[in-house]
């Protein structure tokens, strides 16, 4: 159902962010310091692609299986016939999950300037499970590997 592709692109830095017509945005936190819920991140190189027939309705679609191997923080992530191996790593700095909330003023006149925006902190992320390696194919044909070996030997 899935394939993974791996473009070798470096991180791109975009210069800046503007607020649009809003001048000041209050950053709120409805959960409070103690109770801010922790979110999770799975990060892998490349892109997970669904089969074309599922592309426009990914909701509820199963991606794969995450398996913790031993008592250490080692994991496999099986996507289709690809298996990735990775580890859980703590983030150097925490990340907040912010949700932009538009508060419309009581008399809505369609005036953009009257829309107030707030950013609500709805979660914090402190660790991620990172899959740095290229995927290993779970279904492999021994003959083709044999062939490759042979051709490699010949070229040497």
């Amino acid at each position: 159902m899935y394939a993974t592709s791996f473009p070798a692109k470096a991180n791109s830095h975009f210069p800046a962010i503007t607020l649009g017509p809003i001048l000041e945005i209050q950053v709120k936190c409805s959960c409070g310091e103690e109770k801010c819920p922790e979110w999770a991140i799975l990060e892998l190189q490349g892109v997970v692609e669904a089969q074309p027939s599922f592309k426009d309705r990914l909701q509820n679609l199963r991606i794969g299986t995450l398996c913790r191997l031993t008592s250490q923080e080692n994991y496999t992530f099986t996507v289709g016939y690809h298996e990735l191996t990775g580890t859980k790593v703590p983030l150097k700095k925490p990340m907040l999950v912010l949700k932009k909330i538009k508060l419309s003023t009581e008399e809505e006149k369609g005036d953009i300037n009257s829309t107030k925006v707030e950013l609500d902190v709805i979660g914090v992320i402190r660790q991620r499970i990172l899959f740095k390696t290229r995927p290993k194919a779970l279904i492999s044909k021994p003959q083709s590997i044999e062939k490759e070996k042979v051709s490699a030997d010949v070229s040497n």
């Binding site: 979110w39 490349g46 509820n60 991606i63 299986t65 912010l98």
Partner: protein, 398 residues
Amino acid sequence: MEIEKSLPYGEGGAEAILNVQSNTSISIAYHQLFGPHDDLMLLELDEKLLPDILNQRVTLRGQPDEDAVLCTQSKTYAIKFVGTSNSVFLIPPSNLSIALGASPNSSEKDHDNAVVASVIKVVPGSMELVEVAPRLDKLKLLLSENPYSFDEVSQMNIELTHKNKGLYSWSDLVEKVQASDEELCTGLRALAAVEIDGYWRSLDENFVDEILNMLLHNAVLNDWLLSALNEDEVLPVLEADGFPREIVRHCLGVYGSKVVDETRGGCTWRLEERPVGVHFARVILRGKKMNLERFMEEWRKKVPEGMNGSFDVLEGEVLTEKIGIETRIYAFSVSSLPSVPAERFSKLFQEKPKWEWKELQPFVRDLKVPGLSSEGLLLKYTRRSQPSADAEPIFSAR
């Protein structure tokens, strides 16, 4: 395993991922609300800023045409978006799925009946914070639009003055100037601004000149000591001449400092040599270059007796140039220069291609770049040359 089985679909969430037991597995799926969710953003920040954020002491500030900054009570941070080409799957905790609008009774079940964690969005990158200097040049610009002058005092025409443009309240300034509250306060103090009828104003230079002259004049008439000006005596006298008490008190604060005087009641002020000297130098040099000796003569006449008129107090306020045998002096104030280092150095070298350290120092010592020492600043923005080992180093543009 039993726990896993007892959990219905969609209740795994982030907790399930963060607490996977050894030798067990969970299913990863797209959330029933999976989508771009542009309203969800990630912000990376220092652990030490977390309390500020979680206690709601942080705002984002910026005009539509400016890059937004994040302000805590005391500091300003630029916000950079850092994109990634990795696939970053964002997984909310299970209870939040409902808060985001998902229905708890999903008809689909995982075929193994295993715990499922659902991906709400694939994150294109995150925002990062970089501490920056506050953008106070704009504050200077805004306050210079409509300085408070003697005309305004004498007219007392409230309707006319309040219709005038260029009046800014604290909340106007917070909206327009990208700086934290503390930095904005410091900036207003540096500009000697005063709050009048709810608006922050700078004082017109001529108006200040009149107040200072009147103060010095009355000091002579009434035998006041410039090192011990009693507020209760000074304010009524100047008020009688048409200068509002609040403005005169403000000027005492700008051009003097409070002294503790237990023998007399009320507040006592000492006029300070530097701000007073700088004020009169500015008035004399307004818009022109002058022969240095002639300037010194005129300036010493203006500076009140008891102050010795040392040229040192004009550091960072004037420049001199040699033309033939004549030395000329002109006003060149550090406070009129940009506060962004690259722009500051560019302006300085435009004014004068070569600087000795003694000359340059007063014009750069206020520059503060987080993470860069003053030596680092010089290395970055100037070229240092030394004609011989014992000669003074000369700084020029890179």
